[in-house]
Amino acid sequence: MTKHKKILLAEDDEDDRMIFEEIVRQLQEQHPFDFEAVENGSRAIQLLNTLEGGAGQLPALIVLDQNMPQMSGKEALAYLKSHPVLSGIPVVIFSTYNDSRLSNECIRLGAVQTITKPDSYEDFHAVVSRLVNEFLVVQ
């Protein structure tokens, strides 16, 4: 059983998912960690509930895209932060545009960071790398 820390990504846009996965593959060569991607907020919550029930290890970091169908990143965030066990997991919100009001609301709801989706692969890489260092490669 792997004891590596895990990142859970909820992202409905397949291009952004693909880029994230490519970056993760590159980073995994340096520090081993686990990664799982789901397509929307409700799937993420379903998965987290089954993991919490004992099916497996909970992620060390949850990354939520804001603009998702059925359940937005912010809505999923609100749910997670009101859940007794899941609320302990740090959540980062990714959004397409720089909306300071949305950012503030997400921070208020308990997100550790809100990040605007970067414009270039290099910037994206830098952002994910920083997240891995901050939340996975600790202690």
Binding site: D119, S120, Y121
Partner: protein, 327 residues
């Protein structure tokens, strides 16, 4: 009748409207004027009564009032529709510009990835094409932000406050610090007043105008941008100066490439651009935004280009007395 009794008791004249039945024509409104006859001893001895048929006037009056009420209702409905339509437009502009950013981001990102990863095995022309794709995307992003800002100007965003123009200009200078150094430009200010304006909108105005002056510089000389102001008696570009005037005329002059004077009014049209876009960047929407802001402040703006460079003249009221004014 009560009026008559009351008037009698107090011993003064009175006027009232009465309806009198005309055999041939139904009830007619009449104006009855009664003058009390009060001889020396003070008691009312009688009344002089005059009656005037005012039926026609009264009927016309009623018709007029009904029409006014109707028209007012119509106007209110139109106003509500316009507000709704305006809200829809703003929503559309906001959603369109936000949603359009997403595919733009992708185009830029993937084009750059192709270029960066294959720069060594692609022919130079292909790399150029990719650069052109990315540059077009950047222009489109900028255009969308401008459209978004333009559409937001209709909404009352923030109120008016007393602002020293010097502070605004200093802020703009800081924003353009690098460009100013690069172009060895000088920005001079003279006698700038304090005005009641919407601070962020006025920042946009000067950012745009100074930005333009820094863009459209002549390669032959170091750019000098001069900003001056004087109090005016009237809201007119030919007004006499008046140190106590309620209007301020602000002039922004540069020594750049100027523009052809035949365009001096069209220069403020939406999307109007006078230079080919490759030579001098510009999305052509900036001046339309400035004009809108100045007009929202109840001001005027004009431009001229005689000889070297361009001059923009703005007239603004010293203070605002509008519903937006929180003072």
């Amino acid at each position: 009748m009560e009026r008559w009794q009351a008037a009698a008791a107090e011993m003064h004249d009175f006027t009232t409207e009465v309806r009198i039945h005309i055999k041939t024509d139904g009830y007619h409104w009449n104006l009855l004027r009664a003058k009390a006859r009060k001889p020396e001893d003070g008691d009312v001895s009688g009344w002089v009564i005059t009656i005037v048929d005012i039926h026609h006037q009264k009927v016309m009056n009623e018709i007029l009032e009904e029409k006014i009420a109707d028209r007012t209702k119509q106007l209110q409905e139109m106003n509500e529709q316009l507000e709704a339509s305006n809200n829809d437009l703003q929503l559309f502009a906001s959603v369109a510009s936000h949603d359009l950013q997403e595919p733009l981001r992708k185009i830029h990102m993937f084009s750059k990835m192709v270029r960066d990863r294959h720069m060594n095995d692609l022919p130079e022309s292909t790399v150029t094409y990719l650069n052109k794709i990315m540059s077009a995307v950047t222009r489109m992003k900028s255009l969308m932000m401008n459209i978004l800002n333009f559409s937001k100007l209709s909404a009352a965003t923030g109120g008016y406050e007393w602002v020293k123009l010097d502070n605004i200009i200093n802020g703009v200078k800081e924003d353009f610090e690098v460009l100013i150094a690069e172009k060895e430009a000088t920005i001079q200010t003279h006698d700038l007043p304090e005005l009641m304006v919407n601070r962020s909108q006025m920042q946009q105005v000067f950012q745009n105008l100074i930005g333009n002056s820094l863009k459209f510089t002549s390669p032959d000389r170091k750019p000098i941008i001069s900003i001056s102001a004087e109090r005016l008696r009237e809201k007119s570009f030919s007004s006499a100066p008046d140190p106590k005037g309620q209007w301020v005329g602000i002039s922004i002059r540069d020594n750049g490439i100027g523009f052809d004077e035949q365009f001096k009014t069209r220069i403020f049209d939406l999307f109007q651009r006078l230079n080919s876009k490759d030579q001098y960047e510009g999305t052509g929407i900036g001046l339309a935004i400035i004009k809108k802001i100045v007009e929202n402040h109840q001001g005027l703006i004009t431009a001229e280009s005689k000889g070297e460079g361009a001059s923009f003249h703005i007239i603004l009221p010293v203070s605002q007395t509008s519903p937006n004014n929180p003072v």
